[in-house]
Amino acid sequence: QQPVQSPQAVILREGEDAVINCSSSKALYSVHWYRQKHGEAPVFLMILLKGGEQKGHEKISASFNEKKQQSSLYLTASQLSYSGTYFCGTESTQGAQKLVFGQGTRLTINP
């Protein structure tokens, strides 16, 4: 079952914050976040393996609520380079290594 991402698209001014959500109807073992710029490969951002785990990567961080089967990606003080489509990939079974990706959230950062 494909996870659901929200919002589908967001437009920000440089310096503003954004939150991207990823919800699954199935219990999750892990959530993986990627950013893809147009015409390029998806780039790995971070992985969350435990319920409630929060990870940070520069001004990009994420949380994982295992009970709610949800993950959120936080982008703080957004930069122009943050523009792209963000995908969450979910894994339901430990060790299966099979990622099911959400439909993506298109983020546009304007100067």
Binding site: H32, A41, F44, Q97, F101, G104
Partner: protein
């Protein structure tokens, strides 16, 4: 991370023909994956390729249509057989690094006329 290359980077093919896509990694990896991404859409896993065993296909994908080879720990190929316009897509390989993280190649853009 990993340095992954794919060939060809793009191609235009006639319906009914086949195209083989190559994926090369800069170091040995146990698991490689093939995904399809239709324009503006999400990524869909086609199959998992482990060296020394048959590829494992996801629902909706069959070996006759998408045969995969994995001759060694740094290389894999995906063939798109008997192509139709519906096969027009971006095909990406990914590799598993560490125990959990997948890194993607640059993709092959395929247009079938």
């Amino acid at each position: 991370s990993a340095v992954i290359s794919q060939k060809p980077s793009r191609d235009i093919c006639q319906r009914g023909t086949s195209l083989t896509i190559q994926c090369q990694v800069d170091s040995q990896v146990t698991m490689m994956f093939w995904y399809r991404q239709q324009p503006g859409q999400s990524l869909t896993l086609i199959a998992t390729a482990n060296q020394g065993s048959e590829a494992t296909y996801e629902s909706g994908f069959v070996i006759d249509k998408f045969p995969i080879s994995r001759p060694n720990l740094t290389f894999s190929t995906l063939t798109v057989s008997n192509m139709s316009p519906e096969d027009s897509s971006i095909y990406l390989c990914s590799v598993l690094r560490g125990s959990e993280t997948q890194y993607f190649g640059p993709g092959t853009r395929l247009l079938v006329l």
